[in-house]
């Protein structure tokens, strides 16, 4: 991608900034963590080329170190067949292939380190070296302090901006109207300049620093990428001020103006008014520029082949198992209970265990917001939060209220047990410290040596009180002052319920009890908590959605409308809501008093089964925890995961999506007898009810960004945790409730911390759709822009024929038949427990033979 060049004589600043902005990370404030493709900037390239370009720009690794792949080959996790396949895919000639094959197994001591970053080692760096000023070390602390204080959401006791004041005005006010100089803006050259507007300041500074218009955008980009975290945050907030609870008016242009003024001030201070401009650098011609010529991707062929071979080895484990699944039987009798889980890979194993324990349960998978998009404000919440995928802009606001008399909420600032986080005056601080410190000795010792016995006082959202009522039915069509509709009309409810039921293929054969099981995660001492919750709810626990869904589907008015639209839910069918706590492996059931008596027996049976399933699930998770108990006792395992979620010293309350690798869109029968090792996103989809790909298009438009986003974020954070990820979480410091940084002066860290990705196998997502290729083709046409994901290979896309189970791989050349070696057969085992025993690494897909039909 060429960066913006000036047209004619005029350098167009706005256009240049707009062009640069797509290089910035797009991670919003940490309170809602939305997974996305870390390298969205290069998504218009094919995968390997995009990765190569990004590697060069950011100075990051493209793949795992060579030795890792070789080691995987030795332990059998990369198969020779897969290497053959990957070499064939690479498109090199036969002789080259032989040379390649020979060199693949040799040691290579040069491929361990990432390249020098083009963005941090360009003209700016050369200039700074020449001037002998460590400019970043001078400018960044000043900038980060101003930005974090301006954007701060409540950590600092004094807010920087006055009402509605923008960043630029703030800085100008502090500089021009304070008795103490704001360092370094008091430098006279800058002080004079600040009376102009930001655009003018940028141009003046560029004139003085760079001196050649054709290099302006290059310079600005290098400035921005000097601190990608903050630049990205400013860009996000500029585009969506609602991302912050206390809105702030800031733009990249303002930030650049302040930063350039700051740079100029420092250079002026150290070198006087006449210093060497960038345009006058003697080595200018030799410095690589950020344009097309230098961004021609050079994919390291050997590593590419290794990587694809690793992916294909893993992918063919699932494909071989799917190939051998029998064709589906005709519908059986209605099950006792149907449970709709989130598509999330963490529910994959829970569903398997639930079905094992209770044969009368049929499970479905759907995105965990249950098709209901709204803003939610709970009883104790001060602000409403969006409860739907990031791509949807909700228009409805749901509040919860209670009929119970509640004690007036204590002002937390007066609560002594919360003293350690609240503000107080100097004198009070003295007295508190003198008197209360010893209590903290006890409290500290307690929470380190007896972690699970008492919560350290921080309530987590997933433990929210379930007693409030949701105000779902809209009473008037007047939007409130923020432009939101308060609640849904019956028709809108029916739209949403029907949408979900159709997409998962549940339009007939209803069980008496249907459970919507959302999920959330509770952890303590974890600023990334939002990344552990439901991705389809924009990083929130999905409880309100499940409750809303159950309420709507139970509503007689809604059912009437559904009936007119051909979905006849019998009156004997009742919906209920619950939430799975994925870190503690506990299930909370909501609104039980309002559940119809007729289904109480089913509910009791379900709860019992669920209790057992949760314990087994906890044991399966424990095999990943090196310090956890490797025990056959499910109860011990369960106790361990609860303790883990409550320990303030535990940086890994759970391993999240660490295992994600597959996504299967199809009927449960296709995967019901498979042990998938918690690796699969499972979306229910009935191929027979979708002849024109309408439903599939809708499903895929959620799966690509959500599941693909999760997958690629884990992948890149794992491949280069320093650059694409957030590094280790241990030294993280929370900045302004916006994000985390290393220490007090660091740049914001984007991506995932190493504790979340350390056991991840960085392979692209394999999406298997149970549908014939021509319907899929029709669906893909409807996807428009999202086709990039499959066309450029950012996910692997495979069709599995609903009848013959023939497998076809999608590629730029169209569908390509997959022929797996016939010797490759999924190993079989009787029960899940037999598979996991003694295993601490990922396990290939197994065929389970001991399950109920």
């Amino acid at each position: 991608m060429p960066i913006h060049k000036h047209k004619g004589d005029i350098f167009d600043l706005d256009a240049a900034i707009q062009h640069m902005a797509h290089w910035l990370p797009s991670q919003g404030p940490i309170k809602d963590f939305i997974h996305h493709n870390t390298l969205h900037a290069v998504q218009h390239f094919p995968f390997h080329e995009g990765v190569a370009v990004a590697a060069k720009v950011f100075g990051a690794r493209s793949y795992l170190p060579l030795a890792d792949y070789q080691q995987r080959f030795q332990t059998g996790r990369i198969t020779p067949d897969a290497i053959d396949w990957a070499i064939a895919q690479s498109g090199c000639s036969t002789q080259d292939a032989q040379i390649l094959r020979d060199s693949m197994f040799k040691d290579d001591h040069t491929s361990h380190h990432p390249p020098i970053s083009l963005a941090n080692d360009g003209i700016r760096n050369a200039w700074v070296n020449r001037l002998e000023i460590d400019l970043n070390a001078l400018v960044h602390p000043v900038m980060f302090r101003l930005l974090s204080n301006y954007l701060d959401q409540g950590i600092s006791r004094w807010a920087l901006p006055k009402n509605g004041e923008n960043f630029w005005d703030c800085v100008v006010r502090l500089t021009l109207n304070s008795l103490i100089p704001l360092y370094p803006f008091h430098q006279s050259i800058v002080r004079e300049m600040l009376r102009e507007n930001p655009e003018q300041v940028i141009l003046t500074c560029l004139e003085k620093i760079v001196g050649d218009e054709s290099l302006y955008s290059q310079y600005l980009l290098e400035v921005l990428l000097g601190h990608p975290g903050w630049s990205g945050m400013v860009h996000i907030i500029e585009g969506n001020p609602q991302a912050l609870l206390a809105p702030r008016m800031i733009s990249l242009k303002q930030m650049l103006a302040v930063e350039l003024a700051c740079e100029l001030a420092f250079v002026d201070k150290k070198k006087g008014t006449h210093f060497l401009k960038i345009a006058e650098l003697p080595e200018l011609a030799a410095i690589p520029l950020f344009d097309e010529d230098h961004l021609t991707p050079q994919v390291p062929l050997k590593l590419r082949v290794w990587h694809e071979a690793m992916e294909w080895s893993l992918h063919s484990e699932l494909l071989a198992a799917l190939r051998d699944q029998p064709a589906p039987k005709v519908a059986q009798a209605a099950p006792e209970v149907q449970a709709i889980f989130c598509i999330d890979d963490r529910e994959c194993s829970l569903r398997r265990y639930l079905e094992e324990v209770h044969p009368g349960v049929e499970t479905f998978g759907a995105p965990g917001f249950f098709g209901i998009d709204f803003l939610y404000q709970g009883l104790d919440d001060v602000y409403p939060v969006a409860q739907c995928p990031a791509v949807i802009k909700p228009k409805h606001l749901i509040k919860s209220s209670t009929t119970l008399q509640r004690a007036p909420k204590k002002d937390p600032r007066q609560d002594l047990s919360k003293m350690h986080f609240s503000a107080h005056s100097m004198a009070r601080g003295w007295i508190y410290t003198q008197t209360l410190g010893f209590a903290y000795a006890a409290r500290l010792a307690w929470s380190v040596f007896r972690p699970a016995t008492k919560l350290p006082g921080i309530r987590t959202l997933s433990e929210l009180e379930a007693h409030g009522n949701l105000h779902l039915l809209r009473e008037s069509d007047e939007p409130n002052e923020d432009g939101y509709l308060l609640g849904f009309s019956l028709a809108e409810m029916a739209d949403r319920v029907a949408g979900l039921l159709r997409s998962i293929g549940l339009t007939q054969n209803f069980a008496p009890l249907i459970l919507a099981a959302a999920h959330g995660s509770s952890s303590v001492n974890n600023p990334h908590f939002a990344a552990y919750d439901c991705g389809a709810c924009a990083g929130k626990p999905g409880a309100p959605n499940a409750r809303a869904f159950a309420w709507m589907a139970n509503h007689p008015g809604v059912r009437d409308i559904l009936r007119q639209r051909g979905i006849d839910i019998p009156d004997t069918t009742h919906f209920a809501a619950s939430m799975h706590n994925t870190s503690r492996d506990e299930m909370t059931y909501f609104d039980e008093p309002s559940l119809d008596k007729s289904v109480h027996p089913q509910m009791q049976a379900f709860k019992r089964a669920m209790g057992i399933a949760l314990e087994r699930n906890a044991r399966e998770r424990c095999r990943w925890f090196e310090l956890g108990p490797q025990t056959p006792d499910n109860k011990v395992a369960h106790r361990h995961v609860v303790t883990r979620a409550l320990s303030i010293f535990e940086p890994r309350p759970e391993y999240n999506h660490s295992n994600n690798l597959y996504c299967v869109v199809g009927r449960r029968q296709l995967t019901r007898h498979l042990f998938l090792d918690r690796r699969a996103f499972l979306q229910s989809y009935d191929p027979q009810s979708d002849v024109d790909g309408e439903l599939l298009a809708k499903i895929l438009s959620a799966i690509f960004p959500v599941c693909g986003g999760i997958n690629l974020e884990y992948l890149f954070s794992r491949i280069d945790n320093s650059m694409y990820g957030a590094g280790t979480k241990l030294p993280h410091n929370v900045i302004g409730l916006l994000g985390v940084a290393n220490g007090v002066e660091g740049d914001l860290r984007t991506g995932l911390p190493s504790q979340m990705i350390e056991v991840h196998e960085p392979a692209r997502l394999l999406i298997v759709v149970e549908q014939c290729t021509d319907v899929i083709d029709q669906a893909l046409v409807k996807l428009a822009g999202l086709r990039e994901w499959v066309d450029n290979d950012w996910v692997r896309f495979v069709s599995c024929d609903p009848q013959t189970r023939a497998l076809m791989l999608y590629g730029q050349q169209g569908w390509q038949k997959i022929t797996l070696p016939s010797a490759l057969v999924a190993p079989s085992a009787k029960r899940s427990e037999a598979v996991i025993v003694g295993q601490t690494k990922t396990i290939p897909v197994h065929q389970l033979t001991g399950r109920h039909v």
């Binding site: 974090s148 304070s178 919360k418 601080g429 000795a441 987590t460 010293f649 320093s722 940084a741």
Partner: protein, 625 residues
């Protein structure tokens, strides 16, 4: 009791060496550290219990004399009293908690072994300080704590911020060590062999000679300097928040709980020295007061949680200084323990702040500006529209920039030194040769023993030269070899100057140089191999990350760095003390140049080590055009 005392000091050392010798297996390290910690806290409890049973009496124990010559002796001396007991209790408790915490917290971290090594080094240094019976012993512990602190700040060494901040903290430490080094030397002079803490209180019972006042005042100032540097008091507040770069528990134990209160400890220990006069008291009071003001204002505008806790802690230590100056010893002890636990807890749970503020408090915005118009009416009409705004802005800018203290310190101390060094580095080569020649002539004059006092006068230009060479090392950016050589030359010159003054000290000089010379040569060798294929001057600002790519040589360089700066692992540490005591017992002025050189050399050497060994490795060749 003696055995327990020794156990408290030596057990962390045992832990350190066991972990160092282990094969890096995490579980083994965890087992070692847990058991050693248990043993240590048991011996602390037993020691304190025994001490309590014996009626809380101050207790002194001399293990053996490490070195003795003439009237100089360096005994390994331990001392336990109320103050020491309070500190020891906190050390034991917090250290135990932190080790348990880190067992899981640090799990799978690449630096697991490194972390536990460093933290045991820290515990060792801490116990030496707390149980030290003399200022010399205390200084040894002080240095150990300083280095382990430096290593933990730069724990994540592949990023440049931690590395820079570690250097920043280290420079302040180093600067303030001067206070302690000279303090140790002065106490030798003033109290001779009776510099035991145990005898200090009794020292002032008899009337002090008038001459003693001046010396005691200087000594008090030096101690105050050392204390305020370590405790991040005015004007050194700024380094503490920036030191929060290591893993959270290490920040908690260092900058929340223990290390930051060492300044208070030093003042408590040396109370008899400085409390005799109102002047040092007033100084401590004003340092405390200024700190409280600056720190509590700065705290208000900290938008990151660790910085906020850091400033809150600094402010409390400021209060402790005030209490100390008023003589409220017991209150200080209580305050210290209480603050240590509170800050430790706060830092450990600091990641919860997001959840806490969003879910519990629901306070996302805070107030600073006067929004209430009624409050304005108390101001005169003419000022209503102008002044409040200006004042608000001024206050905010003051708080935002944390009182400009960093700038102040930089401009006062480092900039002049840098400028001097830069000028020196531009001096042409043959002037340098001329100087060497002059030096040789000088030497000949001295050897010829033209007159008895010649040596004294000759040593003056030599020591001046020593400072100049150190300054040139300080601002040399382009060649690590030059820096290294300059530091060594500076040390040789120090030895030469002492020899000129006190020819009889030859043996001690050899002792000193026997630490310096191997370190110097070893460092040169390590750098030669490290930089063989590298043109350093071409990009002298890049961190070269050799500790990842060439760990063996980096360790060598680190050890030689420690040797060169007189860390208590080589004879150079003892030698440094000896040089001081020898030379300045007759010529007190000499203390100034040698300590300046000592500080500056340390910083310059640390800088070389960081540039070479820290950072993230990259493929350099790819884009060289």
């Amino acid at each position: 009791m003696n055995v327990l005392l020794l156990a408290c000091v030596l057990l962390p050392l045992l832990g350190l060496s066991l972990i160092f010798l282990s094969d890096g297996n995490e579980h083994k390290i965890a087992r070692i550290s847990l058991w050693v910690t248990r043993a240590m806290s048991l011996s602390i409890i037993a020691l304190l219990a025994l001490w309590a049973l014996s009626g809380f009496k101050a207790y002194e124990y001399q293990w053996f004399v490490l070195y003795q010559q003439d009237d100089y002796q360096f005994p390994l001396l331990f001392y336990l009293d109320r103050v020491g007991a309070a500190y020891l209790f906190c050390v034991g408790m917090i250290f135990t908690i932190i080790v348990k915490y880190c067992r899981v917290y640090m799990h799978r971290d690449a630096g697991y072994q490194r972390f536990f090594q460093t933290i045991f080094t820290f515990a060792f240094g801490l116990n030496v300080i707390v149980l030290a019976g003399s200022i010399d012993m205390l200084f040894a512990g002080w240095e150990v704590v300083g280095i382990s602190s430096f290593l933990l700040i730069a724990f994540y060494r592949h990023r440049w911020q931690p590395v820079r901040n570690a250097l920043r903290a280290y420079t302040i430490y180093r600067l303030c060590d001067v206070g302690l080094l000279m303090g140790a030397w002065m106490s030798h002079m003033l109290f001779h062999e009776s510099q035991h803490f145990s005898q200090m209180a009794g020292l002032f019972d008899q009337a002090i000679e008038p001459a003693g006042y001046a010396a005691l005042s200087v000594l008090s100032w030096l101690i105050i300097l050392a204390a305020s540097g370590k405790s991040a008091q005015f004007p050194f507040c700024f380094w503490l928040p920036r030191a929060m770069e290591g893993p959270t528990p290490s920040s908690a134990i260092f900058y929340g709980a223990l290390s930051i209160h060492l300044g208070v400890f030093l003042l408590l220990r040396t109370m008899p020295i400085w409390s005799f006069n109102f002047l040092p008291r007033l100084m401590i009071f004003s340092i405390g007061l200024l700190t409280v003001i600056v720190a509590s204002l700065s705290e208000k505008t900290q938008s990151n949680i660790k910085g906020q806790v850091a400033y809150a802690s600094i402010a409390q230590v400021g209060f402790m200084f005030i209490e100390l100056s008023l003589g409220l010893e017991t209150l200080v002890l209580l305050h210290f323990m209480s603050n240590a636990f509170l800050r430790c807890y706060q830092l450990l749970v600091s990641p919860s702040i997001v959840a806490h503020l969003l879910r519990v408090e629901g306070a996302v915005d805070t107030d600073f500006y006067i929004k209430d118009q009624r409050k304005l009416q108390y101001l005169p009409n003419s000022l209503r529209d102008v002044l409040p705004d200006v004042l608000q802005n001024t206050l905010y800018v003051f708080a935002l920039q944390e009182g400009q203290l960093e700038l102040l310190v930089r401009n006062m101390l480092w900039e002049p030194l840098k400028k001097l060094g830069r000028t020196l580095n531009q001096v042409s080569a043959w002037i340098k040769w001329l100087t060497v020649l002059a030096l040789l002539v000088w030497l000949l004059i001295a050897v010829a023993e033209v007159s008895g006092v010649a040596g004294t006068y000759l040593s003056m230009p030599v020591s001046l030269l020593m400072v100049l060479v150190s300054a040139s090392a300080f601002s040399q950016k382009h060649s690590p070899f030059k820096v290294w050589n300059s530091i060594a030359i500076s040390s040789f010159l120090a030895a030469l100057a002492v020899w000129l003054m006190v020819p009889s000290a030859l043996f001690d000089l050899f002792l000193f140089l026997s630490g310096i010379v191997p370190a110097w040569l070893l460092g040169l060798l390590a750098m030669y191999f490290l930089l063989k294929n590298d043109n350093f001057a071409e990009s002298s600002f890049r961190y070269r990350a050799f500790s990842e790519t060439r760990p063996g040589l980096s360790l060598l360089l680190f050890l030689s760095f420690l040797g060169l700066v007189g860390f208590p692992i080589t004879p150079a540490f003892l030698g440094e003390d000896l040089l001081l005591s020898h030379a300045s017992s007759q010529h007190p002025w000499f203390a100034a140049p040698i300590t300046i050189a000592f500080v500056v050399n340390g910083i310059a050497a640390a800088r070389v080590f960081m540039r070479l060994c820290m950072g993230r490795p990259v493929e350099v060749k790819e884009f060289r055009l």
